[in-house]
């Protein structure tokens, strides 16, 4: 008898457990209704918003500081920061979050993702917020990268940071190779000659560190610099066809691939420069966030130009946007407005080395004197902005970049000739664009 009772209890417990797990949570409205009525008499609960970003190291620390200042100044809003440090996994996470309806309220993303995110219908248009907010001046933002944020006449994102890439060189390694540590290369020929002179294979030192792996946007976005410097284009004007399989494209790919066959460089994982094992590399102005305290002396120079050509660079940056399913859009807008305000942007740019996104920062006397007096190594980035190109704003960009990098990599590794690689890349990219 006693035994049977115990058994019955067990059954009941299991059933209760299964059912409680299946119970839907109480609908949000039911919970919120009584609360909002009591708001006046009880303590105000701050609105919680979740904010994802992909900045790392010192840049992430700075952002953390800015967010806690915001939380402090706005007791009615509480921003929770979640760092998403891996570029590829961040994109995967966003996709699965769209499907499972677990997106955060506000995110910063690589600007190149904005057209793709907008194509998933999950991003909130900002036009109404901007026009309804008298103290928000959209005209103050630089228009260079505008095409990513305004799609079919609606604005979906605000600039959060901007950047471009220039050549950074290790003065200590130059000196050790018997070269003048203060003179960076200015032409492609010089660059290769310097790289060959500076490389020291026996000690694992490479002359110029190219981004060769893994495949993906890292390869594409760094190679585009050389493509544009040679006078080439990536896609045609209306983003419907590949435009890189030309004489200029071949010149750029031949130049890079040749160097990678031991003539100043070898393929390898990114990061040799930071370890003091590469004489030169391309890096963005965000490097001030982590390169300031490098154990070696370094300088920044404009990307060398090919004979008779001009310098070029790739400009990127991050965007801040909110998702359409956020239930706290007012708070989210307030936070976005804070992050992109002149005052915060000035602090942000001076701490991280990101390029100004607002005219009121770029022309600010405090900012200009910081560049000229405290951090003159910023100057090539500022000067390089006039040679900056933008990547095509198409929702298919990620797929194009992935396919392009796979083919180009074959030339980098010496597995196919530059001409073959370009042709294969053209075919792959056009197939994606024909979808």
């Amino acid at each position: 008898m006693y035994k049977k009772n115990r058994f019955l209890w067990l059954v009941l417990i299991i059933i209760a457990f299964v059912f409680s797990a299946c119970q839907p949570t109480t609908p949000a409205e039911e919970v919120e209704q009584p609360q909002s009525e009591q708001v006046e008499e009880e303590v105000v609960e701050p609105v919680q918003i979740t904010f994802w970003h992909q900045y790392d190291k010192a840049n992430a620390e700075m952002l953390e500081t800015l967010v806690s200042e915001f939380n402090h100044a706005n007791p009615d809003i509480q921003v929770e920061v979640v760092v998403q440090p891996s570029y590829d996994e961040y994109k995967t996470l966003l996709q699965t979050s769209i499907l499972s309806d677990t997106l955060p309220d506000v995110v910063t993303v690589d600007l190149i993702w904005v057209p793709w995110l907008v194509s998933t219908n999950s991003v909130e248009p900002l036009d109404a917020y901007i026009s309804g907010d008298s103290d928000f001046d959209i005209e103050d933002f630089y228009s260079l990268q505008l095409e990513y944020d305004v799609i079919d006449g609606n604005r979906f994102a605000l600039p959060m940071s901007a950047n471009n890439m220039q050549v950074i060189w290790n003065k200590d390694l130059f000196e050790r190779a018997g070269m003048d540590p203060e003179i960076p290369p200015t032409t492609w020929e010089e660059m290769q000659a310097y790289a060959e002179q500076c490389q020291d294979i026996d000690n694992g030192v490479i002359g110029f560190e190219y981004y060769t792996q893994p495949t993906g946007e890292g390869i594409t976005w760094q190679f585009q610099v050389w493509l544009w410097a040679a006078g080439g284009e990536f896609l045609n004007a209306d983003n419907t066809k590949a435009a890189f399989n030309t004489e200029e494209g071949l010149e750029a790919l031949t130049y890079v691939s040749d160097m990678l066959q031991g003539n100043g460089s070898i393929p390898g994982p990114w990061g040799a420069f930071g370890e003091g094992k590469a004489c030169m590399q391309l890096d963005g102005s965000w490097l001030f966030g982590y390169r300031k305290d490098a154990p070696f002396d370094w300088g920044v120079a404009l990307v060398p130009a090919p004979e008779g050509g001009v310098s070029a660079t790739n400009t990127g940056g991050e965007r801040v946007l909110m998702f359409a399913n956020s239930e706290k859009k007012e708070a989210a807008w307030k936070f976005m407005k804070y992050l992109t305000s002149s005052e915060i942007q000035l602090k942000w740019d001076m701490a991280t080395g990101f390029m100004p996104i607002r005219k009121s920062v770029g022309e600010n006397s405090e900012y200009l004197s910081w560049i000229n007096e405290t951090e003159p190594r910023m100057l090539p980035f500022v000067e390089g902005m006039q040679y900056a190109h933008t990547r095509p704003a198409t929702p298919l960009y990620n797929e194009i970049s992935d396919a392009f990098s796979r083919e180009i990599q074959n030339a980098f590794l010496g597995l196919s000739t530059p001409a073959e690689a370009l042709e294969a890349a053209e075919k792959a990219v056009n197939e994606i664009l024909a979808q």
Binding site: K4, F7, T120, I201, G204, P269, E275, L413, L415
Partner: protein, 299 residues
């Protein structure tokens, strides 16, 4: 009323009730997703906010003519068979040595060989990419004292897969050694005594006593090893991400890239169905050979 009800069906009902929770978990998290993947593999679904479009067997047709997919199958098979068999051969040899009663520091060596197996994959892979970094890595720093240009390891198309296999074997070895050690201790010592009386030397004893006695264990290790190696993913993602030039792009990584990074869920599902079929075929063949999961095996 309850009493008589329970008395009659006591055993069946108890079994059902105890199996129910795990059955529910299995149905919700395993069987339902498998069926869903089968269905989704007939659709094109490239945008999370749009409805999937039915395209029949188009995904499969495309995959079978996709050089990248075929390459990933080849890489996976090469990896799975090499890692499984090499770790089994080495594992048996090392286990035999460690089983020697006169070996000093036996426990220390056993721990040493088992360490890689209990190290989390992420940690092991991170350590390996630092050790094997072509410029500042420890391995190449040492090697440069002897040869002028040591391999680029994970970054060289000729070496990347080998390096990855080395990592796989290194991690797998501890497991095979432990299993073999347990099995070796089950061989009655009389067998060895009789062999010695018959005048067999060490090699002959190993060949005619140890190896035949290890056969069931070996077959089980092959089954488990192949299944495990076929689904290798995390260590590839961390070390090479399929590169360079696709030489280490195993099929699960191919699936991950296309389904989750490029959001081609239909194609991704078709890949997972193909992997499912391949693993099922391998398993069935092995079930036939080993009788895995039957009573004889347990004994």
């Amino acid at each position: 009323m309850f009493k008589s009800f329970f008395r009659k069906r006591n055993n069946t009902l108890t079994a059902i009730i105890f199996l129910l929770p795990s059955a529910v978990v299995f149905i919700v998290f395993v069987f339902y997703p498998i069926l869903k993947a089968f269905r989704l593999s007939l659709f094109e679904w490239n945008n999370p906010s749009k409805e999937p479009i039915f395209i029949g067997l188009e995904n499969y047709k495309e995959l079978l003519s996709d050089a990248r997919f075929m390459n990933s199958l080849k890489v996976t098979f090469t990896y799975a068979f090499s890692v499984t068999f090499i770790s089994i051969i080495l594992g048996l040899l090392i286990a035999t040595i460690l089983n020697n009663k006169n070996l000093p520091f036996k426990t220390f060596f056993r721990g040493l060989f088992f360490l890689p197996t209990v190290t989390p994959t992420i940690v092991a892979a991170m350590v390996w990419i630092i050790l094997f970094n072509p410029t500042y890595g420890f391995i190449n720093t040492i090697l440069r004292n002897f040869i002028s240009s040591p391999p680029n390891w994970f970054s060289d198309p000729d070496w990347a897969l080998l390096t990855l296999m080395l990592l796989g074997i290194w991690r797998r070895l501890g497991f095979t050694i432990i299993i073999y050690l347990a099995a070796l201790q089950n061989i009655p010592s009389e067998y060895y005594e009789i062999a010695q009386m018959d005048g067999a030397n060490t090699l002959q004893t190993f060949r005619y006593v140890t190896i035949p006695q290890m056969l069931p264990t070996t077959l089980m290790l092959i089954t488990l090893g192949l299944m495990d190696a076929f689904m290798v993913f995390d260590q590839v993602l961390i070390t090479t991400r399929g590169g360079p030039a696709g030489v280490t792009e195993v099929v699960s990584l191919f699936l991950y890239t296309d389904a989750f990074t490029l959001f081609k869920m239909g194609k991704g599902s078709a890949i997972s169905v193909i992997i499912f079929v391949i693993i099922m075929v391998i398993t069935i063949i092995q079930w036939r050979l080993v009788g895995f999961g039957t009573n004889e095996d347990v004994a």
